[in-house]
Symmetry: C2
Subunit: 331 residues, 2 copies
């Protein structure tokens, strides 16, 4: 399997991206295509004594940044590392694409360079979130601020296929609709109409779910418009950060507490790992014609390695083929 990696996407590119990609090759045995400034990438390989086994480099000196407007990936930045990687994927030069670069540019680029799956109205960014039980998929998590009921219904279909095939090993994923209460009449028009569509479908729909119950792991898939999905995702992240900050303050408050903290050191490490988005590696962009994984902008090598693992799982489970078949069945 060959994974195309945007070596220049994200806050810690290229050093951490390249290191993570090397770790993935060594651990998972995939082949890699690294897109970015070839001279600098070769220098990184030399400095770190990385082997070139199974590695190609596609020279792309230009980079699209967080500050560039997304659609510039089709114009001023049409030859940036992200655009070149996406075009290579579209041409069959790899099985999946991973980038930690600008989310907006990646969505724009994937939608226009790879194209949507026929019948999909809008691709969705499907964040994988740690919960008290097991990872959960939230979509859309920010690609589509304004949504129609049919879009939310397709998000439910696509997320359900992903979680059923990749995470649940075939057990039908449960689907919940994010709402301000659990009763059927809650929410606005978007929620009412989406509820009706989901209720009449063959998805494993469990009804409306409140944001309060999401961190407890109430469903495998949570469907929301991109605005409230983004609010949900980011407020969970921000709250974890706030609490971890408080916790650190308590554990390191004095010599005595530091001694006390020693008794729980490994357990706190386990908790940190459990809650770390780096474990899940990346958010699949579902609804385009080939697997695209968005890694967190602050990804270091470990997160990037896991994003490549997610890309490989997505390819192995043929998520794109199954979404295509499912959407065509509906049409």
């Amino acid at each position: 399997m060959k994974i195309i990696v945007d070596a220049y996407g994200g806050d810690n590119a290229p050093a951490e991206i390249v290191k993570g990609a090397m770790d993935a090759r060594n651990e998972y045995g995939c082949e890699l295509v690294l897109c970015g400034n070839e001279g600098e990438i070769r220098r990184l390989f030399e400095e770190n004594a990385f082997s070139f086994d199974g590695v190609e480099i596609v020279d792309a000196p230009d980079v699209i940044s967080m500050n560039d407007i997304p659609k510039s990936i089709l114009r001023e930045h049409k030859d940036c590392s992200m655009a070149k990687g996406l075009r290579l994927l579209a041409e069959g030069g790899g099985d999946a694409f991973v980038s930690a670069g600008s989310t907006g540019a990646l969505i724009m680029g994937a939608t226009f360079l790879l194209k949507r799956i026929k019948g999909v109205s809008r691709p969705a960014l499907a964040a994988v979130i740690p919960t008290a039980k097991k990872p959960m998929m939230l979509l859309d998590s920010g690609a589509n601020v304004d949504c129609r009921p049919e879009m939310l219904f397709q998000f439910a279909q696509m997320g359900s296929i992903y979680m059923t095939e990749v995470m649940n090993h075939g057990r039908a994923a449960t689907v919940g609709l994010l709402n301000v209460g659990t009763e059927e009449h809650k929410g606005g028009e978007l929620q009412h109409e989406t509820y009706a569509l989901l209720k009449d479908s063959d998805l494993n729909f469990i009804g409306n779910v409140e944001a309060r119950d999401v961190p407890g792991g109430i469903a495998d898939v949570i469907v929301a418009d991109g605005f409230s999905g983004n609010v949900l995702l980011k407020s969970m992240e921000g709250t974890v950060d706030m609490l971890m900050g408080f916790l650190k303050g308590i554990l390191y408050a004095s010599l005595i507490t530091k001694l006390g903290a020693l008794t729980m050191k490994s357990r706190f490490g386990g908790l940190k790992k459990k809650l770390s988005t780096a474990e899940y590696g990346g958010a699949p962009l579902l609804g385009v014609t080939a697997p695209v994984i968005k890694a967190h902008g602050n990804s270091k090598a470990y997160a990037l390695k896991n994003a490549i693992r997610v890309a490989m799982e997505t390819v192995n489970a043929d998520v794109v083929g199954k979404i295509t078949a499912s959407v065509q069945k509906e049409a």
Copy 2:
């Protein structure tokens, strides 16, 4: 000052509500009107040897429950404890009203029995949320699922007055607009138009804020439509609950960790108190003609006592008068 209390609102009514009201009277010296089943309330007083000093009872045997549709407060349940309390407030029989009962019924009842302040398009439920720094006000937190830009602008005005007068002792509260990114162009039409209104106002507007930065206390007032505001509020609560659960698991994992935990016991107590919504007591319903405070449905005596304190602060700061003046100035 005389506070009217819905003695039969909430999961722990009437025992915890009455006890909390008694604690408030004893600590803050307010007078009370308790609405609810008079016979049962009198029995509670006898059982607990509470004094009737400064206490009136308004007999209201009917109760509106979480399962009743909100508008039934105007029809089938027009004489429930909540409705009687609101009517008494409207007639000047007290200075403020506190209820831990159904949010929907309280908003419906307050809007129609008390009426909106002239010029206010919709009352907002203004949740007070603990953050890493200091309490923050989020409005709307669930009363209005669909909002127009003018409504969000008024929420900003009302929240700003509350936080400036009650929490900041006169220092102008900072106002942030909840959005999916900090840049001016982020979000949908609602956010774009609201941003323009806020930017041109004399409010202390700091721009768009992301949900991730809310738990850190990025602004005194966060403005949002009721849907995403509700998602923000509840996901923070749910995430705190999840983490506190993990933490408990770690602290009580073994005899050794229990000994370690002893070194931090008081500090963990402080954290729990800091994050407890019971400390803040209640969410003011802003935009109606008299102070109404919604206490959390699961309020026990301590939370209810604090909700009465919030009601008294709202009266003392003349929040209703100041909102009235501000809205009329705009008109």
